[in-house]
């Protein structure tokens, strides 16, 4: 591929295109050729009657996504799988090592540590987030004047995400002047040094993740308001108390939303990167060394270090595939288990018809 790019660049220079445009044009020109070819072939097929106009339109509409998928997702995935069997530092020629990278990963203590940190974070923070956001949504599901103000207040923190959130919480968890230790000190408790303490760094990140439950809370609230009142009334007539009604009416009705949140939450948690990266950089503990150095060694962070700090491209690809398989297995597990506790409404077609009728009116 390098030859093609070089050839295009040479041609561009020959006709006097400024060099700054080389990078983008060497991508755009082949892409434009592929698009043009595809649409011309499609038009000819449709004209000659080999394809109905609808079919041609479908492929024409879908093609941009297919192109993006092949170039930026499917192609790179295949390449990455191949690369995971090589040793490559971007400079010298790649050497084939077979399953060497996977064997190394299995014996690498940092991989073990990274898996432990990431899984612990996912398994603790996701259920906590679900419980907390559901509890808040239940609290907020009352008809009181000004309830919208509460909703905004709880939602607001979820807008402070990414780097800004980490910057804020580095300050909130500051051992000396921070908010948390200040409050603890008020009660006479000598707070830990949080991010600097290997035992408290991960709990601090979990607490930090709980601050942004507002986003989920809003979805649960919409789900709660969708629970038909007649179900609650019927349960009440049958003598069900508060707890029974929550357990047997509200929870089953919400279970698809909870399920969706658990799946997306788990996938997101396993991909945690920014927190670990910035906190480590800010504390200057260096990567992988120092006492609290590995306390926040998330799997993606270790992958990133291998790829872009140490330039172990093959090893990083192997790590990426390990992560991929792990996420797939975990998702599969949650999906398999879901039939025991997720309740779908398809058993009650009558209500869906009603919705459709109202909507089309």
């Amino acid at each position: 591929m390098g030859d093609i790019i070089a050839a295009i660049n040479a041609a561009l220079t020959a006709i006097g295109i400024p060099e700054e445009l080389d990078a983008i044009l060497s991508f755009t020109i082949p892409a434009a050729v592929v698009f043009a070819l595809f649409y011309v072939v499609l038009a000819i097929l449709a004209k000659k009657g080999r394809m109905t106009r609808s079919t041609a339109a479908f492929w024409g509409f879908i093609f941009p996504w297919i192109f993006g998928f092949l170039v930026f997702t499917a192609g790179p995935m295949v390449y990455s799988l191949g690369l995971s069997f090589f040793d490559w530092d971007l400079v010298s020629a790649p050497t084939f090592v077979g399953f060497g990278n996977y064997v190394t990963a299995a014996q690498d203590p940092y991989v073990g540590k990274a898996l432990q940190v990431t899984l612990l974070f996912a398994v603790v923070s996701v259920p906590l987030q679900v419980v907390l956001s559901l509890a808040v949504a239940m609290l907020m599901n009352v008809k009181v004047k000004g309830i919208n103000i509460f909703r905004t207040i709880w939602y607001l923190p979820s807008l402070v995400t990414g780097v800004a959130q980490v910057a804020l919480f580095l300050w909130v968890f500051n051992p000396k002047y921070g908010l948390v230790n200040g409050v603890l000190g008020f009660f006479g408790i000598d707070g830990p040094s949080w991010f600097r303490d290997p035992n408290w760094a991960l709990p601090a990140v979990i607490l930090m993740s709980l601050w942004t439950v507002g986003g989920n809370m809003v979805i649960y609230l919409a789900g709660l308001q969708d629970v038909p009142a007649e179900l609650h009334e019927a349960a009440q007539l049958d003598g069900a108390g508060q707890f029974r009604r929550f357990w047997n009416v509200t929870l089953p009705q919400l279970s698809p939303v909870i399920f969706f949140n658990v799946v997306t939450g788990l996938i997101g948690a396993l991909q945690t990167f920014t927190q670990g990266y910035i906190i480590q950089a800010a504390l200057q503990t260096g990567s992988g060394t120092g006492s609290s150095g590995t306390a926040l060694l998330f799997f993606v962070l270790y992958l990133y270090q291998n790829a872009f700090n140490y330039f172990h491209m093959g090893y990083a690809s192997a790590l990426a595939w390990i992560l991929f398989v792990m996420i797939m297995l975990l998702t599969l597990l949650v999906f398999r288990g879901s039939s025991f506790w997720v309740y779908y409404e398809s058993a009650r077609p009558a209500r869906k018809d009603r919705v459709r009728r109202v909507r089309t009116r």
Partner: protein
């Protein structure tokens, strides 16, 4: 409350003619007691206080001098007001250049993601194609579960081949062709629109492009807003992409600059908080502008 929830409630009310007479008597029993509502509200107020406090504290800290930070502790009121933190946050580093790159890597993806996902979602929802369509849609759903980290290394090698390191292209190019989640969102929305819309237009001789552009696209405003806001938030706060590809100051984005700031100016907390607020501010603004649509646009995704 979401639009769909309103429709559902309306639907339930419409088919229950006997209800009103009985309702009054029963309502008193299912509706929570006064005491319970008061307890709920008190808990809410307490919780809100805990949740909003770090946010207010962030604003308060950003208005303090270093001496003020040391002395006011966890209180909210700045001992000495210091607005110069904000002035410094805007001038101490090439803020406008960073803002420019951030806007480029945010606004282009917002537009292309929405338009391309809408086209694809429309094709999946409305153009009859048979098996091939459902297989392809299965692929779309599968890519939704795919961790983007798998393509991190190969994409880096790809863009390196094209000499695109230290440019914004690697961050923008992958977003030009639509994304699986938004395709899914648009498809679900279009599936709920009546089929007669396309039938009538086809009878009138409109092509598929016309049908999408003049009928379906304008009708999908709630999804457009929701998708645009979600994409804005994720592009604006994107950190891993810029941290891989951008090294020189020319093209740095705001989150990347802020991350550098936390390690170099980590001790100047007032300035750091001011810079954080500056970075977060557009997200807050977008939220308040689009607040009504966010939940309404998401509740029909079919997660239920």
């Amino acid at each position: 409350m979401s639009e769909l929830a309103e429709i559902k409630t309306a639907g339930v009310g419409a088919i229950a003619p006997i209800r009103p007479a009985r309702r009054r008597r029963r309502r008193s029993s299912t509706e929570p007691s006064r005491l319970r509502v008061s307890v709920q509200v008190i808990l809410l107020i307490a919780g809100s206080f805990v949740f909003i406090y770090p946010f207010l504290w962030m604003i308060s800290t950003s208005l303090r001098t270093p001496a003020g930070i040391a002395s006011s502790g966890i209180g909210l009121w700045p001992v000495q007001w210091a607005f110069e933190n904000f002035v410094q946050a805007l001038t101490a580093f090439p803020f406008w250049s960073y803002l420019g790159s951030t806007l480029l890597t945010t606004l282009i993806p917002v537009v292309t993601m929405v338009v391309m996902s809408s086209v694809a979602g429309f094709a999946f929802a409305r153009i009859p194609i048979g098996r091939a369509g459902s297989i392809l849609f299965g692929v779309v759903l599968a890519t939704m579960l795919l961790p983007s980290e798998v393509t991190l290394v190969p994409q880096f090698i790809l863009f390196r081949q094209f000499n695109m390191i230290d440019t914004l292209y690697p961050i923008i190019l992958p977003t030009l062709f639509g994304g699986p989640f938004f395709i899914f969102l648009f498809r679900q929305f279009y599936l709920r629109l009546p089929l007669s819309l396309t039938d009538a237009a086809l009878l009138d001789g409109a092509g598929w492009f016309r049908i999408w552009f003049s009928i379906y696209l304008p009708l999908s405003r709630p999804v457009i807003v929701a998708a645009a806001v979600i994409q804005f938030m994720s592009s604006w706060n994107n950190f891993i992409g810029p941290s891989i590809y951008l090294h020189s100051d020319t093209w740095k984005t705001l989150p990347l600059a802020l991350a550098g700031f936390t390690s170099t100016h980590g001790t100047d907390t007032g300035l750091l908080m001011a810079a954080s607020i500056v970075v977060v501010f557009p997200c807050l603004l977008i939220f308040f502008l689009a607040q009504r649509h966010i939940v309404g646009g998401l509740s029909f995704t079919g997660s239920k």
